[in-house]
Amino acid sequence: MSAGSTDTAVRTGRITRTALYLVLLLFALFYLLPFAIMVINSVKPLSEITGGNMMALPQDWTFEPWVKAWATAQIGVDPTGLKPYFWNSIKMVVPAVAISTILGALNGYVLTKWRFKYDTLIFGFMLFACFIPFQIVLIPMARILGLAGLAGSTPGLVLVHVVYGLGFTTLYFKNYYQVFPTELVRAAQIDGAGFFRIFWRLLLPSSGPIIVVSVIWQFTNIWNDFLFGASFADFDSQPMTVALNNLVQSSTGVKEYNVHFAGAILAALPTLLVYIVAGRYFVRGLMAGSVKG
């Protein structure tokens, strides 16, 4: 984002501005409401939830639901809480995001700076892969993971997520590198720099914003995935979403809404954190990447 770009030429009057703020605040309210309901009700005792108003602030603040969701809630036979599953998710998400981002960056680099015949066609093929419905993937994927000896393991899950994230990461990096001056690459080539050296020295240092976009996108999708996590994980590699589902979907007994909400927020914290920490760069990355043709 260059210094002048937030400066817009459009001028607005006082009344218009008040209206603008009003609309923006209304929408902020709309976006915050569901999450606010979750937070408010996660610090209420159960009796206040079942008996009262969902929007009312708690009369009795309690953090017990949070402790319970994290450490002692019934997920399976043992009351382990979400804690062990949290680490399973981390072990899956970090490598999957890293690998798919690196591959996406390299693909984008090749497709824009080392053009060859049919490269656009190949890109089209990769892009179309984004639209494959996951339902048709499940059975053949299971078979291949089995043959590869990766069934029911974290590496297997990483592979799955890398494969179905590649289309997006390639798209992001390709669009980003498209506007990177090709003359610089040619000049470096003439100076004798090789393929990886140019990537490492020239493109990568300026790729910050688009890396952020790619990481946010992949992290969110992989962290929140349920279908693959449930189907391709073993008892010792089940991710957090599967555990959360077990907590929320249990079919008998009193529904402990406060614990469910606390668990849901816990499961969402890492993605929220990524958005808040990296969000500043997000629009910048989009600006340079996916929306400029």
Binding site: G76, D78, A148, G149, S153, S231, F235, V242, N245, G253
Partner: protein
């Protein structure tokens, strides 16, 4: 880069192999019992096994009454890495047995004498081609009505003996400003009610012809139209907000006295007991009017998956433990169901449980024990869901009774 990938893959593959090696001697159990009471009951089994030196690797996948777990199972079997034992229902077990995916438990069954103590109707779902493939945990019966006694007494309602009395009771409650029927508008709940209504309207022969033999004439008959008409009566007596409600929240309405009746399987009893209610004093349980002699059932079982041609020692130990009278009693007291063995003492059970055991034995002896359509014990999953589609569409007002019966014939023929 490629070298790196190759190297990583090899390392990862090696790691995966070493991980699965470490599992020998343990059982991995896929199930969907994740709520407090169920998990506590299952824990009895876990500790039993651990006492014998067999570790328990827990693989819970909740949701949709086992639907999510069944999807996971398919992926696991396809990948050649099936769990040791899987919680399963009815026709799913037979379907997997047909795929040759299940282990032969005959050796254990003969040693433990299962053939003599498990009712025939249940054996039909635990054996394939004369070969035991799964270990039944319990028998649920689904044609129960649960009622709040105080609400009934206040309105002068006695336990209805037939449909007409039941309908009158609903009217009385509606007039008194109480929600007559607590119901959750989910397809399986609609179908659970329909099971009982159809059994009551047409009797056991009709039920068998329609849902087990899938006879087109029965499916499109006037009796079926009448069953749908009675569903409309029930539909007229639920509250406005029933759609999508979970069954246990509906049960809570009866517990709190907001509603008079709920038609639900015996698992509802656990909710009453957890709320500190006493059977016979605070709440009543009775068979759906007109089905007093019949029991429609479903049974949770643990199917054992083939681990390379033979039954492992762990599977044998697990199967034995599941059918041990002590576990059968301990588990079913908690779960609200009745034991899968007929020779378990009813001492530990409460009034409803004792009656359930008696009813089951009587129904089994007189040939009145039928698999529940709503719970996958009358027809395979495809047909069951096709029937669901029609029942739930009708219950939500898309068809009238006559159209529903016609649609039923059509839906079943597509699914068969």
């Amino acid at each position: 880069m490629r070298k790196f990938i190759l190297k990583t893959t090899t390392t990862l593959a090696a790691a995966a192999v070493s991980v699965s090696m470490a599992h020998a001697g343990d059982v991995e159990v896929l199930h969907w019992w994740t709520s407090g009471g169920e998990a506590a009951a299952l824990n009895v089994l876990k500790q039993d096994l651990e006492g014998q030196g067999t570790g328990w690797n827990d693989m819970p996948v909740a949701g949709g009454g086992g639907e999510s777990a069944m999807t996971v199972l398919r992926a696991r079997v396809t990948s050649g890495n099936p769990p040791t034992a899987v919680q399963m229902l009815g026709f799913d077990i037979l379907d997997w047995a047909k795929e040759d995916a299940l282990a032969d438990l005959n050796a254990v069954a003969v040693k433990e004498g299962w053939d003599d103590v498990i009712p025939e109707a249940l054996q039909a779902f635990a054996k394939h081609d004369g070969q035991w493939v799964s270990a039944p945990v319990n028998v649920h019966s689904t044609n129960w009505v649960w009622a709040n006694k105080a609400v009934l007494d206040a309105n002068g309602i006695a336990i209805p003996a037939n449909w007409e009395e039941f309908e009158a009771a609903l009217e009385t409650l509606a007039a008194a400003g109480v929600t007559p029927v607590a119901h959750g508008g989910q397809a399986w709940q609609d179908a659970t009610v329909f099971d009982a209504v159809a059994m009551s309207a047409g009797g056991p022969e009709f039920y068998k012809a329609a849902f087990i033999d899938l006879d087109e004439e029965a499916l499109g008959s006037d009796t079926m139209v009448e069953s749908f008409r009675r569903m409309e009566v029930i539909r007229g007596h639920v509250d406005d907000n029933f759609s999508g409600r979970d069954w246990n929240l509906a049960t809570a309405m009866v517990i709190n006295g907001e509603a008079g009746f709920q038609m639900m399987g015996d698992w509802a009893k656990g909710e009453f007991l957890n709320a500190g209610k006493v059977p016979g004093e605070d709440f009543l349980c009775f068979r759906f009017p007109g089905t007093e002699d019949q029991v429609t059932f479903n049974a949770d079982q643990f199917a054992m998956f083939d681990q390379g041609g033979k039954v492992s020692a762990e599977q044998a130990a697990l199967a034995t433990a599941i059918l041990s009278p002590s576990f059968q009693s301990a588990f079913n007291v908690v779960k609200g169901s009745v034991p899968a063995r007929t020779d378990v003492s009813d001492e530990a059970f409460d009034a409803c449980g004792k009656q359930g055991m008696k009813d089951l034995a009587a129904a089994a002896a007189s040939g009145n024990l039928y698999g529940s359509m709503a719970h996958g014990h009358a027809a395979p999953a495809a047909v069951k869901n096709a029937i669901y589609d029609v029942i739930t569409a009708h219950f939500n007002g898309e068809y009238d009774a006559a159209t529903a019966a016609l649609e039923l014939v059509d839906a079943v023929s597509i699914a068969k």
